[in-house]
Amino acid sequence: MLESSAWIFFLSAVLATYVWRFAAVMISHRIQANHPIFEWFTCLAYGIIAALVARTLIIPTGLLALLPLWHRLIAMALAFLGFYVLGKRLWVGIVFGETGFIVLLWFNGVDGIGL
C-alpha cells in the first residue's frame, strides 16, 4: 500500500513536469520560428530562472539555510566580481565565489556544521 502510493506521487511529479515540455512542443509546431512569441518566452524563462537563483541564495532550504544571509551574499558578490572584472571566465568566477565561501566558513564557523 505504502509502496504503491509512493509510486503514484512520483509519477504525478513526473507528469507535472513533462506536461510543460509537451505543451511547449505542441505549441511550437503550430507557430513560425521567427514569431515574436519566442522572444517573449525566452524573457519569461530568464525571469523564472533568475527568481530561482535569487530564492536559492536568499531563502534557501537545507544546508545553505544554516549560514547567515550576508555570508551567502558576500560569496556570491565575489563570484560576480571575479567573473566580470577578470574577463568573463566562468571558472574564475566560480573559484572566487567558492574561495570566499570557504574562507567565510572557516573564520565564522557556524553552529552545527562540522568542518
Binding site: S12, G47, R55
Partner: protein, 244 residues
C-alpha cells in the same frame, strides 16, 4: 565551432563540451539532491529515476519535500508544476534552434525532455553556430553527458551522505546558484538581462507571498515587462554608444 561532418562527430563534440563545468554542475547539484532524498527516506531507486524522468532539480526537491511531509497528492502536483513551469518557456524558446534540422518532428517531444538550464543556455548560445543538420546530435551528446553526471551525483550524494563532511556538501550546494547566476547574467541581449535582474529582485518576495506559484508569477511579470520594453532598451543602448 568546427565543421561537424557526421552525426557521430557532432555527438562527440557535444560530449566533450559538456565534459567540464556543465557536467560538474549537474554532478554537484544532484549530489545535493541525493543527500536530501536519502535524508527524507526516498529509495535510492526512485531517487535515480527522479533525475532521469523529472530532470528538473527544483521539482525533484519539491516532490521529495512534500512527499516526506505527507502532503496530499494535489499539493505535490501543483508544487512540482509550479517550480518546473519554466520548462514551458524554455522549451518554446529553444525549439526554433531545431527548425532547419531534417529530423522527424516527433523527436521534439523527446528533445524537450532533455532540456535543463544547462543544456538550454548551451543551445541558445552555441546552437546556431552548429550546422542545422547536426544540432540534434550535438544536443543529445551534450545533454546525455549532463544527465549521466547527474546520475553519478545522485548515487554519490545518496551513498556517501553520512560520511561526507558538511563543509564539502556545502561547497557543492553553493556551486549551483553561483554557476546559474553567472551564466544567466552573461547575456548580450538587453531584454534578457533586464528580465534576469528584475527576476532576482522580485523572486524572493514573490516566493514568500506564494511559495507554489512565486516563480511563475515572477517570470510572467518581469519577462513580460522586459519584452515590452525591448525596443526602448535598444534605443537607450544606442544613445549610450553615441555618447561614448
Amino acid at each position: 565551432m568546427k565543421e561537424l561532418e557526421t552525426n557521430q562527430k557532432a555527438v562527440m563534440a557535444g560530449i566533450s563540451n559538456a565534459f567540464g563545468l556543465p557536467a560538474l554542475i549537474l554532478f554537484s547539484a544532484m549530489t545535493g539532491f541525493g543527500s536530501f532524498a536519502q535524508e527524507q527516506g526516498l529509495s535510492l531507486y526512485m531517487s535515480l529515476l527522479s533525475t532521469i524522468m523529472i530532470w528538473g532539480l527544483p521539482g525533484q526537491v519539491v516532490h521529495v519535500e512534500l512527499y516526506g511531509m505527507g502532503a496530499p497528492l494535489i499539493a505535490v502536483v501543483l508544487g512540482v508544476a509550479g517550480v518546473n513551469a519554466r520548462f514551458m518557456p524554455m522549451t518554446l524558446s529553444m525549439m526554433p534552434v531545431f527548425d532547419d534540422s531534417p529530423h522527424n518532428r516527433r523527436w521534439n517531444y523527446f528533445l524537450a525532455h532533455m532540456i535543463s538550464i544547462n543544456t538550454w543556455t548551451e543551445m541558445l548560445n552555441r546552437g546556431l553556430e552548429i550546422r542545422a543538420d547536426r544540432r540534434m546530435a550535438y544536443f543529445l551528446g551534450f545533454s546525455f553527458t549532463c544527465m549521466t553526471a547527474g546520475i553519478i551525483g545522485v548515487l554519490q550524494g545518496y551513498l556517501l551522505f553520512e560520511s561526507m563532511p558538511q563543509m564539502v556538501s556545502l561547497c557543492f550546494v553553493f556551486l549551483v546558484p553561483i554557476y546559474f547566476g553567472l551564466i544567466m547574467s552573461n547575456t548580450v541581449h538587453p531584454p534578457y538581462l533586464l528580465a534576469f535582474v528584475l527576476g532576482c529582485v522580485l523572486g524572493p518576495p514573490m516566493h514568500l507571498l506564494t511559495p507554489e506559484w512565486g516563480l511563475v508569477l515572477t517570470g510572467l511579470i518581469t519577462g513580460t515587462l522586459a519584452y515590452l520594453l525591448r525596443h526602448r532598451l535598444q534605443v537607450l543602448l544606442k544613445k549610450k554608444e553615441i555618447n561614448a
